[in-house]
């Protein structure tokens, strides 16, 4: 009975890592497509998005099965409940990456890479997602904490980017549609960063038992 429980727990862990890796790769793919103005790459990335949704349901089923059939306590319960929370964040990351991919064809070959803050946001967000998944894989609390620090970089860059775009629109230098598209993408990146922080916080919770938000 116990060994079966352990088996299911390790399966959960495996699926979580796989789902995390999928997210990580999707956002990296989208960021690359965005900065290279690669419409074809964006289309491919968008096709990959549904895999994450599918994996979310899979992990969810495993979690609920574990909760119902094994009635775990203490750390096991923490790990499973944290997993349930994390997959929601991962799924949101996937969705928002897809949303960015959807905008890319409308940029007409422009990439936004001319704005250093925009590039910084894309790169930092990708790193944050990777780090939060890494923190989960290695169960490393320090790494999880570092993710939250990176979020400040993204937030600051977002504010600067927003001000810059406002200025550009008011000076009528850039056409409005392009500026709004960039702003939306920037916002998505900012949100993805927040989700990465959430994942990191749940990693911390599952390891030490205290949630930062509490």
């Amino acid at each position: 009975m116990r060994s079966r429980f352990d088996e299911q727990l390790s399966l959960l862990n495996k699926k979580m890592i796989e789902m995390g890796a999928e997210c990580e790769e999707l956002i990296a793919l989208v960021a690359k497509a965005l900065l290279n103005g690669d419409v074809e790459g964006a289309r491919k990335a968008k096709e990959q998005g549904h895999i994450i949704d599918q994996m979310e349901r899979e992990v969810e089923a495993i979690c609920l099965k574990l909760l119902l059939q094994q009635q775990p306590v203490a750390k096991d319960l923490r790990v499973i409940s944290a997993a349930l929370k994390m997959i929601t964040d991962m799924e949101r990351i996937g969705d928002q990456a897809e949303d960015i991919a959807e905008i890319i064809p409308f940029l007409d070959g422009r990439t936004g890479a001319e704005f250093t803050d925009f590039k910084l946001m894309a790169e930092t967000t990708c790193k944050m997602v990777t780090d939060s998944i890494d923190a989960y894989v290695k169960q490393n609390v320090d790494l999880a904490k570092a993710v939250a620090e990176h979020d400040d970089v993204v937030d600051d860059a977002f504010v600067r980017m927003k001000n810059m775009l406002i200025k550009l629109i008011s000076e009528n230098k850039a056409d409005g549609e392009y500026a709004v598209d960039l702003l939306m993408i920037a916002k998505y990146f900012e949100r993805i960063g927040d989700h990465a922080v959430n994942i990191a916080e749940w990693v911390e919770f599952s390891v030490i038992g205290v949630h930062k938000g509490a």
């Binding site: 890592i17 796989e18 998944i133 894989v137 290695k138």
Partner: protein, 548 residues
């Protein structure tokens, strides 16, 4: 074992004890009954004799508490009884012993009393007057006797049980003690029970076998470990559950793993979707292969299932560093593209000029300019093709004739050939050092010095100098070509020996040359086993030194 021995001893002791008590009791009881009967008979005959002589009055003063006497008249009525009133007693004619006595003269019987706790023995004899005299005694039955002895028996059993427990425990321990102290590490050195010798010998033999097998196994795994760890290719073995079985040093470097990951999930090492898919694929028995860039190098990942009897036992991942191969591949592609481009440009120019001439679009006074243009481009094409031929000769590595070559002689020859072009650019050519001889291919050495000097002149400044120095350094022959030219920036220095590489791509036409010169130099130096040392600074000049 101690327990079993203890139990057996204890049970045997108890059974023997109970059996001996039972046998002794019944034997004693029999004996006691027998002697009682004899005593009864003796007493009866004694009393009967007296009664015969004295008559029934004998009992008047008779006092007996042990025995009971009864005198019965021939019709069965009781005449006298020592313990009860005779008149109140019932007729005794049907009593067994009385009947026997009337018939045979004597009779005896034994009857249990109504409570069964007592047994009464009767002996009867016919008196001379025809009456019957009976003697009787009551005693406990065997059941009652045992019942009466029960506390004593219990006490005996209890005490003997305790003694048996203690003794059998000690004995059991004593029997098993040598077994407990068997030294199984050295089975042949034990001297306990003879009966164990075959087992111990067998154990000893198996010990030796296991040891040698372990040794072989260890050696084999050591060998494997040694071979695998010195491999340049990354090798990872994974079991059917995705756990890492083995990972060599190269693989650890490639996957950036610091600690030992043996026994942990491979997902912890690498979680890329491509890899996961490839592993799943391999677990289904399929081969997969892909190329991916990691930390600046290009790797080829080959993932194969490990199969035995059609069952997948695990997965083997092989990682090759193909950076060099990929680089060479890119170089080759670049070279092909360059060659076609370089060959096409002069041809286009020739075709263009020829077409203009053909259609009569050129003014007569310009004709000579166009014709000389065609000639120049054609010459360029020929020299380009010559260079490519020379390069491919060097590539082929076919063995040309080697001889003793005197370097200053070759250098002088080069200077002679290049004087005109040097003069055109106002560059002074000079030779320093004393004659040195090396063993090599004269034509190749000529190519080396010629191309180096040609470049030194071509990329020189007005009024600059080119110096060829031939000498010895650390007992090795060196040739160096020093110029005061424009120099080469550090970022180009590693690439100038590539075919068709140009520092300044846009001005290659002006300076001339094919872009193959230094490539030829490199190959020729390599052919002679020499070393090229480049020392250059932008604006100051370049020194190329060849150490043979």
């Amino acid at each position: 074992m101690t327990k079993k021995i203890f139990h057996s001893i204890f049970i045997v002791a108890l059974v023997i004890l109970l059996a001996s008590i039972g046998i002794a009791t019944s034997f004693l009881y029999e004996y006691y009954n027998d002697s009682q009967q004899k005593q009864l008979k003796a007493e009866l005959s004694l009393v009967a004799d007296t009664v015969n002589k004295v008559g029934i009055e004998y009992f008047e003063n008779f006092d007996s508490t042990v025995f009971r006497f009864t005198v019965v008249y021939t019709d069965g009525t009781v005449l006298y009884d020592t313990q009860a009133n005779a008149s109140e007693m019932e007729n005794h004619a049907d009593r067994e012993e009385i009947v026997e006595a009337f018939q045979n003269g004597t009779g005896s019987s034994a009857r249990n009393s109504s409570t069964f706790s007592k047994k009464t023995f009767y002996e009867a004899v016919r008196l001379e007057n025809g009456d019957v005299l009976r003697i009787s005694i009551s005693q406990l039955t065997i059941g009652a006797l045992i019942l009466g002895m029960l506390p004593a028996i219990c006490a005996i059993i209890l005490i003997s049980a305790v003694v048996a427990i203690v003794l059998s425990h000690a004995m059991a321990k004593k029997v098993t003690e040598p077994l407990m102290q068997l030294d199984l590490e050295n089975p042949s050195e034990n001297s306990t029970y003879e009966e164990l010798t075959p087992i111990l010998t067998k154990v000893h033999k198996q010990h030796k076998e296991i040891k040698s097998q372990m040794e072989t196994l260890r050696r084999k795994s050591d060998e494997f470990e040694q071979i695998v760890s010195s491999m340049n290719e990354g090798l990872v073995l994974i079991d059917e559950h995705g756990m890492v079985l083995s990972m060599n040093t190269a693989a650890k470097n490639i996957f950036a793993v610091k600690n030992d990951v043996k026994g942990s999930d491979f997902l912890l090492v690498d979680r890329t979707v491509k890899m996961s898919k490839a592993i799943w694929n391999a677990l289904d028995g399929n081969h997969s292969e892909y190329i991916e860039e990691r930390s600046g190098s290009e790797y080829q990942f080959t993932i194969n299932p490990i199969e035995s009897d059609g069952k997948v036992l695990g997965v083997v991942i092989l990682v090759f560093d193909i950076s060099d191969r990929a680089f060479a591949e890119r170089n080759r592609q670049e070279f092909t593209a360059n060659v076609t481009h370089e060959l096409k440009t002069p041809l286009q120019s020739i075709i263009g000029s020829a077409e203009l001439l053909e259609n009569g679009l050129v003014k007569p006074e310009d004709t000579s300019r166009f014709v000389s243009n065609i000639r120049k481009e054609a010459t360029r094409l020929v020299s380009l093709i010559n260079d490519i031929i020379r390069l491919s000769q060097l590539d082929d590595n076919n063995e040309p004739a080697t001889e003793t070559v005197e370097l200053t002689e070759v250098a002088k020859e080069v200077i002679e050939v290049l004087t005109i072009s040097a003069a055109k650019r106002n560059v002074t050519l000079s030779l320093e050092g004393e004659p040195q001889t090396i063993f090599g291919v004269r034509r190749y050495i000529y190519e080396i010095i010629y191309n180096l000097c040609d470049n030194a002149i071509r990329y020189n400044v007005d009024g600059g100098t080119v110096t060829i120095v031939i000498g010895k350094e650390n007992s090795r022959v060196i040739v160096s070509v020093k110029d005061t030219g424009i120099g080469i920036a550090p970022e180009h220095q590693s690439r100038i020996f590539e075919r068709f590489y140009r520092v300044d791509k846009s001005h290659s036409k002006e300076t001339g040359g094919t872009g193959l010169g230094l490539s030829i130099v490199k190959h020729a130096v390599q052919y002679h086993g020499g070393k090229l040392v480049l020392d250059s600074e932008v604006g100051k000049g370049t020194t190329v030194k060849i150490v043979f």
